[in-house]
């Protein structure tokens, strides 16, 4: 699935402009059009990004700290003003619209459950603001608590709930407003690794069941790979690459993406920069094809896979992922001089930039 990142450069096909526009209206839940954000005329936190997210997709914004992913999310939510550009949801321009009219709902990293209200009252809060009667709003809130499997704890206060439970309540609270797009700000960061995997599945299930778009900010590539229909890798306020998880992993656009996504070796030779997947590299004694001489720095056992970190003669870090059986049949030792080889079919050319 090719995702349009550069709105202005999009080529118009055989369709007329009008048909194109109508088609776009149906296909995309969220559109960012040349959106920028700068604070007090200083450096740009978000630099002219354009992105279209198809209907009912799970979109992950992935990147290192300070890359602008959270700022982008907050601009979608309306918690940050947009310095330049437009934000559209369901083809309506909501760049400056007030919260209630945007069609978005945000789940905060700290959950932000109101501490003086029970879980039920927290979820029913948005209905209380609309002056809906108590019995009615409690009934509706219970429906959503059932959806996140928290109905049995409806009367607990947030302080009496665990992190994972608080998050489910926060999710129900956001979903009850029936948003067109749900925005999640690093929702799994505060959970332990085991819970993270469980909640990940929950989020995916709910997203599919409700059929709305989720935009999920994370700095974990594993999370992004597991969840995304659309993965957007950002750095320094710009989008480095946007595409399906498989697209980004198998065909990284540039060296930054290749390095950030993990599991790739970025190699410069003969004036070209290429990426080779670490699991497609092997340690050999002699190689007919392309290869690099390197020294083994460390060996990391990871269960079904063993990761071998190497350093080549130029001082660049490389790694090789091999299955445990292959490793234990002929284990290299730390400090050993080896030859890392790959086939030219597995080479993927990268842009010189980044």
């Amino acid at each position: 699935m090719k995702i349009d990142t550069d709105f202005h450069a999009k080529k118009l096909g055989p369709d007329t402009a009008a048909e194109e526009a109508a088609d776009v209206a149906v296909k995309y839940d969220v559109e960012l059009v040349s959106v920028s954000k700068s604070y007090d005329g200083g450096a740009k936190a978000v630099d002219t990004i354009s992105l279209r997210i198809p209907k009912a997709s799970y979109c992950c914004l992935l990147g290192p700290s300070g890359c602008g992913k959270t700022t982008t999310l907050r601009m979608l939510a309306g918690h940050e003003s947009v310095t330049d550009g437009d934000v559209l949801i369901h083809n309506r321009n909501i760049t400056d619209a007030v919260q209630a009219k945007r069609g978005t709902s945000m789940m905060f990293q700290s959950y932000a459950l109101f501490p003086h209200l029970s879980a039920l009252d927290n979820v029913a809060f948005s209905l209380k603001l609309k002056k809906i009667a108590k019995a009615e709003r409690h009934a509706q809130a219970m429906e959503y608590l059932k959806l996140v499997q928290m109905d049995h704890l409806a009367h607990r206060m947030p302080a009496q709930l665990s992190g994972g439970q608080q998050q489910r309540v926060a999710l129900a609270r956001s979903l009850i407003t029936r948003p067109k797009v749900l925005l999640l700000d690093e929702p799994l960061s505060a959970l332990d690794p085991f819970l993270r995997v469980l909640m990940r599945t929950e989020l995916r299930r709910i997203q599919t069941e409700l059929g709305i778009t989720f935009v999920h900010v994370t700095h974990s590539q594993e999370e992004a790979l597991a969840l995304s229909d659309v993965m957007v890798v950002m750095n320094s306020g710009k989008i480095m690459q946007a595409g399906s998880a498989r697209d980004v992993f198998e065909r990284p656009a540039n060296a930054f993406v290749a390095r950030f996504i993990g599991g790739h070796n970025v190699i410069e030779r003969n004036g070209r920069t290429i990426a080779v997947r670490a699991d497609k590299c092997r340690l050999v004694d002699s190689a007919p094809g392309p290869s690099l001489a390197a020294t083994v720095i460390s060996v990391e056992y990871q269960g079904p896979i063993v990761r071998i970190n190497l350093r080549d003669e130029a001082g660049k870090d490389l790694c090789v992922l091999i299955s445990d059986t292959r490793f234990y049949s002929d284990p290299p030792s730390v400090g050993e001089k080896v030859l890392m080889s790959w086939t030219s079919d597995d080479e993927w050319p990268l842009d010189a930039a980044a």
């Binding site: 905060f108 700290s110 109101f114 003086h116 809060f125 603001l129 009367h155």
Partner: protein
């Protein structure tokens, strides 16, 4: 698990005991002296034991005890009004400072100065200004106003601390769910700052009750309690004054304990109500 206490612990404990003695010693002397018999004087040794001075306080009606009842009433009235005003204005000021506005620095520093400058100067200044304008001081404007110059800076600082510690994401969450700014204040901010609001009310009341320098010159006719007592010190000197001291302490403790009971009962009742709903 017997850990031996270090020497510094004993030294510091001793210092603390001395501090407590210094702080509460005088008050304890007053309580003791208030329970003297009819031959009791204004200092130790204690002569006799009775509650005669308390009786005098309630029955004498002006004979050698000044106008204690009315001044107590005035202090209460003044204190209550100052407490309510401090609470309302304090919340408003605290909320207004969340954003820079023109003159916000001026307001802030004036409040700090008002706290630092000795009350007598502030009171004197107000009184002079009134004089210049040809107005006579009355308790219901200049009296209250003068006392507010003392209690409002405290309220402001309390609000700053509380609002500063409040997590912004609660308000953002409320806005996200569709709250207008008034709803945000009513349903999220206010419940979260409620302990501080009650604190401002208490601070307003207690600071008004004990304050005499600022009120003294601006209260018009009719003394407040501290003013009356200061006056009595020079004139009629009987252990009735000690009786007043004991009763005032008792009154203040009762007030604090009542407030604490009130807030804990509220919290308990809310808990019961919620768990009672559990189907």
């Amino acid at each position: 698990m017997g850990t031996r206490r270090s020497t510094s612990y004993y030294v510091l404990s001793f210092l603390f005991a001395v501090f407590l003695l210094f702080q509460y010693g005088p008050m304890i002397c007053v309580y003791l002296l208030s329970f003297q018999g009819p031959e009791g004087g204004m200092s130790f040794p204690i002569r006799g034991f009775s509650t005669v001075w308390f009786e005098t306080l309630f029955t004498a009606g002006g004979r050698g005890v000044g106008d204690i009842h009315n001044s107590f009433g005035r202090s209460l009235r003044l204190g209550a009004i100052v407490a309510v005003l401090t609470m309302l204005i304090g919340v408003a000021v605290g909320m207004s400072f969340r954003r820079r506005y023109a003159g916000s620095n001026f307001v802030f520093y004036s409040a700090i100065i008002s706290m630092i400058v000795p009350g007598i100067f502030v009171g004197f200044g107000i009184s002079l200004t009134l004089n210049m304008l040809g107005l006579r001081p009355q308790w219901w404007y200049s009296g209250i106003g003068a006392q507010l110059t003392w209690s409002l800076p405290f309220a402001m600082l309390i609000m700053f601390i509380i609002l500063g510690r409040m997590d912004k994401s609660f308000e953002e969450a409320a806005t996200d769910l569709g709250a207008t700014s008034f709803q945000r204040f009513q349903y999220v901010i206010l419940p979260l700052i409620l302990p501080g609001v009650i604190g401002m009310f208490m601070a307003g009341f207690t600071s008004s009750y004990e304050e005499s320098a600022r009120a003294g010159l601006n209260i018009g006719t009719g003394n407040t309690m501290p003013m009356e007592l200061t006056g009595l010190l020079g004139a009629a000197t009987t252990p009735v004054m000690f009786a007043v001291g004991t009763l005032t302490t008792f009154f203040m403790f009762a007030l604090i304990i009542t407030t604490l009971l009130f807030t804990t009962t509220l919290a308990k009742r809310r808990q019961l109500r919620l768990s009672g709903q559990h189907a």
